[in-house]
């Protein structure tokens, strides 16, 4: 139960959602969008999230679609992770999503909510980073479509009043060889130590990582090192580790040294599983 009161809206159209946000913003109600609302509830109950106007996007039909259109798979941002798993149209996304939270919670957590959430793991974005997906957003200026690499840097860079409604991924990425591995401190539930997703496209290895730095990322420099087949596999991995694009987390889930150790082994596992860079 949340300790604060707020206006609750469930708009039925894209425009209504934006209008509700703008009206509440003008009234200084600190409006916020949500869809699954799991983070809203868990952070709100400990006063880490506050709003006087909550705009629930679940009623937007555009956010619930799963369809193939002109060579793209379009997924609504309001799909729950369970709905994505059940449809299994993007196996790498299924594989990564299946490790987020737990099965029952995934019936409430949405794709958009995970990507836009405050909790920094945001693992559902990893497959989209690897597949150069397009992000479809709605805001005061209408509908915008932007490549994920333009709009996602540590987090989705939404303008005030904007929300994510769909993601579109070229079909050629859907059946590319892939692997997704999540390592936790212990057992099989709980927050991740590190999650890594990888796929091979045009004979190049792509990797995206969550839980290593305080944001999920895909690093061109790390991939450059991993794809330099002129040097030994061990050297490639060491060069990749030297190119990590941010501070390494050091917290109760694991020290920074331990995270580096886990990542090194994960990179070995990824290359072995995908048979990448094996010498003849």
């Amino acid at each position: 139960m949340l300790p604060f009161g707020f206006d609750y809206y469930r708009p039925k159209s894209l425009e209504e959602a934006v209008t509700r946000f703008q009206q509440a913003d003008q009234s200084l109600k600190e409006p916020m969008y949500f869809s699954g609302a799991t983070e809203f509830l868990t952070l709100g109950r400990i006063n880490q999230v506050y709003t006087e106007a909550a705009i629930d996007l679940k009623g937007l039909s555009e956010g619930k679609i799963i369809q193939f259109d002109q060579g793209y798979l379009v997924l609504g941002a309001n799909l729950t992770l369970t709905e994505i798993e059940e449809a299994n149209v993007f196996p790498l996304l299924t594989s990564t999503s299946k490790e987020i939270a737990d099965h029952t919670a995934r019936g409430k957590i949405t794709l958009g909510g995970n990507i836009c959430g405050q909790i920094f793991y945001r693992e559902a974005v990893l497959p989209l980073l690897l597949a150069d997906s397009q992000m479809v957003m709605v805001g005061p200026e209408g509908i915008k479509v932007k490549p994920i690499h333009e709009i996602f840097h540590e987090r989705l860079l939404l303008q005030r009043g904007e929300y994510l409604i769909q993601v579109a991924t070229e079909s050629r990425y859907l059946d590319a060889p892939f692997i997704s591995i999540k390592r936790r401190q212990q057992w099989e539930t709980g927050y991740p130590l590190i999650t890594i997703a990888a796929l091979i496209m045009e004979n190049k290895l792509r990797v995206a990582i969550s839980g290593l730095c305080p944001f999920p990322f895909r690093s061109k420099e790390m991939e450059g090192a991993l794809n330099n087949l002129e040097v030994s596999p061990q050297e490639r991995i060491q060069n990749a580790l030297a190119s990590i694009p941010g501070p390494i987390l050091h917290d109760v889930e694991g020290s920074s040294d331990y995270r580096l150790f886990v990542l090194e082994n994960l990179l070995v596992d990824v290359c072995e599983a995908l048979k990448f860079g094996e010498r003849e």
Binding site: M1, F4, G5, Y8, L41, K58, D102, T104
Partner: protein, 155 residues
Amino acid sequence: MKLHTIHLNVNDEEQKVTVRSGDTLLYTIREQLGLTGAKPGCLNGDCGACTIQVDGWPMKSCLMMAVEAEGKQITTIEGLNNTPIQEAFVHHFAFQCGYCTPGFIMNGHSLIEKKPDADDSTIKEWLESNICRCTSYIEIEKAIKFILDKNKPTS
């Protein structure tokens, strides 16, 4: 105080309730409807003691606001009536203190309905959503497998 009067369908009965926008479904079904089978545990979506069914799928009722539940079919443990999974829990001694039991039963009941061909990994994946501090996990798994096996058509 932001109040909403909403209609909830709980255990096939229409219920009219007035709720705060921030009231969880768990709070509403326990405190307003008197259905205390769903248990408050962590209140943070971790333990599964408050699991109910929403539109046939398991749902942690602490992770849903009552205002989100309008138009959904809600089933609580009180809505089950001598279902096979309830009998199997008794038969297999699948509980000790019993606090987590309604949540496990609602999750298991959903699993049996949604995934009648569930393999071991699916059963494990679903059951990881609930915690039993008395560690009755083996007996709970046995009870669920017993029903899944029983429901399989004989050739």
